[in-house]
Symmetry: D2
Subunit: 333 residues, 4 copies
């Protein structure tokens, strides 16, 4: 297996999906050791740094990539398996940014109220304990929360010649901000352009479902991925697989539409896996699906629909790709 390491210089960061030349070309089956900057572009390093003063909104959510995958063509399926995610710094940051987040008016849910107070929280990483430290800024509560690294953003170039900011979750993946995007997960993304042009970023040392205030414990991340290619079979929306679950991520507005998208794509997938009629799959999902919200803060809201494999007969999606990648991954750690 080819193993490639890449740490971008700041001038190499990508801020969009699409519209950026590749940082390198890789073969299907390559393992990547990638470093990514945090979503604030390292603008917030202490509780005294507030977003409105330090954050340059033109340069947020920097992506590492895009990578050109040899042989990838529109209609193919890119498989990205996350082998390992390790914080690349000893601290992460989170911030209440004016008019950004789920419990404030925004540029979209436009209202006349004053902004919420600004604040920045710094979380110290305790690697030995496996925790990040929450310290309240308006009181005295301190908590050690389990480290639970994930990638907020994994995506490919959009279709139709579009170029989209890295803040958007969409059909092409992007800023889905789901805690399910963690070590052990394989993401399947439909390829829209030659080379797929995938990139990753937005490392979170931990994130709750919904990502209420809009920023997780944001931190630079060392990611180990294996990237592979399936000819054809492109899913309409991002599918995820772990040893335990089948998942789909839908992203749209209002949030019921995100859920509908994810449900319908899962029903489509179950049609493929189990030759199940869509009405039977609809009924079955009704009784077995889990539906954790991913984010309610990005330009599109994301919802995960998730099914426990153990409830169903054993099946291999995409010709057993996930198991194969798991095996390859085991040789890497």
């Amino acid at each position: 297996m080819d193993i490639v390491s890449f740490e971008p210089d700041p001038y190499q960061y990508a801020y969009t999906f699409g519209g950026v030349p590749p940082v390198m070309s890789i073969k299907p089956g390559t393992a990547l050791h990638l470093w990514s900057e945090d979503a604030f572009n390292k603008a917030l390093t202490s509780v005294n740094d507030v977003a409105s003063e330090k954050l340059d909104l033109r340069y947020v959510n920097p992506q590492t990539g895009p990578f050109y995958v040899e042989g990838a063509e529109p209609g193919d399926t890119l498989a990205i398996h996350i082998v390992d995610l390790t914080p690349a710094r000893t601290w992460g940051a989170s911030a209440a940014i004016p008019f950004f987040g789920g419990l404030t008016s925004t540029d979209r849910t436009a209202m006349l109220q004053e902004a919420l107070p600004e604040a920045t929280w710094i979380y110290e990483v305790d690697t030995d304990a496996g925790t990040v430290g929450f310290q309240s800024r308006f009181g005295n509560l301190e908590l050690a929360l389990p480290l639970a690294p994930m990638l907020g953003t994994v995506g490919v170039a959009p279709s139709g010649g579009e170029v989209r900011t890295s803040l958007v979750p969409e059909r092409f993946g992007g800023n889905m901000d789901t805690p399910e995007m963690r070590a052990g997960t394989t993401a399947y993304l439909g390829v829209n352009v030659e080379g797929a042009m995938f990139s990753i970023g937005d490392g979170h040392y931990r994130q709750g479902e919904g990502e209420a205030c809009g920023t997780a414990v944001e931190g630079a991340m060392n990611s180990i991925l294996i990237v592979d290619l399936i000819k054809g079979g492109a899913p309409t929306w991002p599918r995820l697989e772990t040893d335990e679950h089948w998942m789909v991520v839908g992203s749209s507005r209002p949030m019921e539409d995100s859920w509908r998208i994810a449900q319908v794509e899962m029903i489509r997938w179950f049609g493929e896996l189990f030759d199940l009629h869509h009405m039977d799959a609809y009924e079955l999902m009704t009784q077995i699906a889990e539906a954790p919200i991913a984010n309610v803060v990005d330009p599109n809201y994301s919802v995960v629909v998730k099914v426990q494999k153990s409830l169903l007969p054993r099946r291999s999606a995409f010709d057993g790709m996930h198991d194969e990648l798991r095996t390859m991954a085991s040789t890497l750690r």
Copy 2:
């Protein structure tokens, strides 16, 4: 502890929250053994019964109750602890009802397309195995799914003299359709009228999050509850507690509003429990909240916001009511 058993005659079923005289008056601290009819009012007993022919939409989701709780006044908090839920029949039913459900147009999300095909699924209960059996109607898949009994509907009379159909989830509880409403859960509901006038129903032998097609494995249920009263302290929206979690259920449309409601109520609760400033609570929720969707099919959509107690310092909500009810419950089984 007073122990009261009640199995309503069909003429005693309630189809609304509010607007119905109590079936009986109980003292706070009473244990109730209740039987409830299924949401279809037993109209669907075989796969040959289709909803459009058998279902009388005026008489769906029959409730057992309402119960008048002595001493309950507006502003008080009713605590309903679910001790045990046991299927009262050997089968449950689920149905695709024309223009009802999450992946079809409805009377609200009105469109011009033809209805989906109608179908009814019957699930046999295997008590020994602890399963319900899924049998596909348009193919051959059969599955034994774990029994996971829950109550779709738990509610009190609304405020403002309103009377609402038992199909609606709202501030007063009602048809929230969350799998979290299971044995071991304590629900806290704000009292709006003298006597609280609570009722329960809509037993589900199992339900996925979202309740995609609109009907879970619907079945008559034997419920054991303990009902208690806290003077004052009424939450704005339903709060739930288990040994492991704090939870809030928000119900509205669009679904992002259901989530917002639940988040804000949880932040309010965390202010009470931990004396946490709302900005700190907002930040903390961002990193620790879970957000499983409950239903996307009722007139309001319901979302649960959920926090694992073990992540936080130990606190007693409502003066330790949940622990107290757990202790009482242990004497009942």
Copy 3:
């Protein structure tokens, strides 16, 4: 034609649709001279009265009625023709109420921001000039705006035994808050209970589309109506007719659903009037419908879909009821 006058005493005000005994029984074809209190229940009479201090939220939007219409049965159609609306006071009031309105967070679109500043605006009525006077409260602008009286609320008792606050617009009419509900308009409402039990209120001396801050120029109103009954033919959602337009009002959330409801009901109506296939009606609406928003502030949002009669062949809806009522009305003024 029977002519009946009624001015309720405060103890007779209705605050709900359904759940209230009739103030009187009338025959179909009766003309009514009704007085209604303003939506604030006269709590705001000067710019110094702020809502949070003066408004009793249990007693807002008082309705005049309900009236029992002889012979009205479920499935029938109640026709309410507005002959004349005249301000019953020399001033109207409007207020910014904390966490109520379209450009603020609310109990549903729940957020953490501080409330907007409170303020009350008093509008003097100049009957001769036909204007109401806007005076800015935070500056010096004064404007004379044309009087344009309308009724915010016209409704019947709901179906299914429900009782709904008078603040809600729904299938049964209610608080639709559309400027189209003015003199010259006939409203057709489906009857849900024996006697129909309709009531009216929420007089607005003027209102823009959307009713942005949540309160129009609210004022006590003298209304002259003629009420008639059509056996059968109940529309699913409120239909309106003037000499110039066919209209439907849809009310739900999110607002696209309000629009969908109104469109589908209009297509249904065009099927009846023109024997038009729903696909042709869909296409035709695409090119000729108007779609003014009514309100974005009530528990449901209301949208009007509106078609100019002159674009189409002449047709009589409900057996020419509107023309008949116009003729009767002409004898009253």
Copy 4:
């Protein structure tokens, strides 16, 4: 005044806002005579052409442009005045496209129902009568509807390096699909990139509010525009001005957000024009705003908020730009 004519060859059509080199560079103050292809790219020329067979979805809504405006820089305001719109063909087309439109499930509002029947309607233009002819496809109704030419799409390149399909209405304008974009209207768009890079297209010979089925009477169009530049003053969202009205177009999802955006931008504008405090403007809008829906079918829904100038003291926006352009326009016809 420079007068420039341009009719693109098909290979010159633009299908995105942003991401396309300019077809030419023009000076501020230039009059343009432009020809644009219809939104179907002329794929539907008879009622026998159905969208699923003839339409190439990669090449829909072709734009004429983009034009590089000399001196335009980010933060400036582009003024586009529509002098005249004349159908460039003797027929227009409209179509029901599977899973596209406002009263069908779509790729976003994803459901399991079958698609609506496909159909294409051809409208003959009668220039003398000033009408387009509707002919029902599932029955016999024929109607002559007034010609009311408008441009569905007017936009500039987006900010942040994004490239967006010409089907999207957004902050940069784009596919707003409002009947207000007609001869006599001046559109003000914030400039995001050097040269502004504006383009136009999607001529409609007529369109109702909401654009229910998703396609108006689509037709090739001859447009006469005058384009001018205001240094600075970029509005956040598109503003429109006619002799009679001030308008703003908001585009987002759900539709209440589109309305909120437009209201808040109008309040901002009224602050500039009348030095009105935002609370007074909020109150005033409540009583005077009109709110016609533009479209409920594009990836974002668009709502217009509109105020009649005659209700207010006379003011000149953007230093009297609209009046100036009207004067220039009068020399062109």
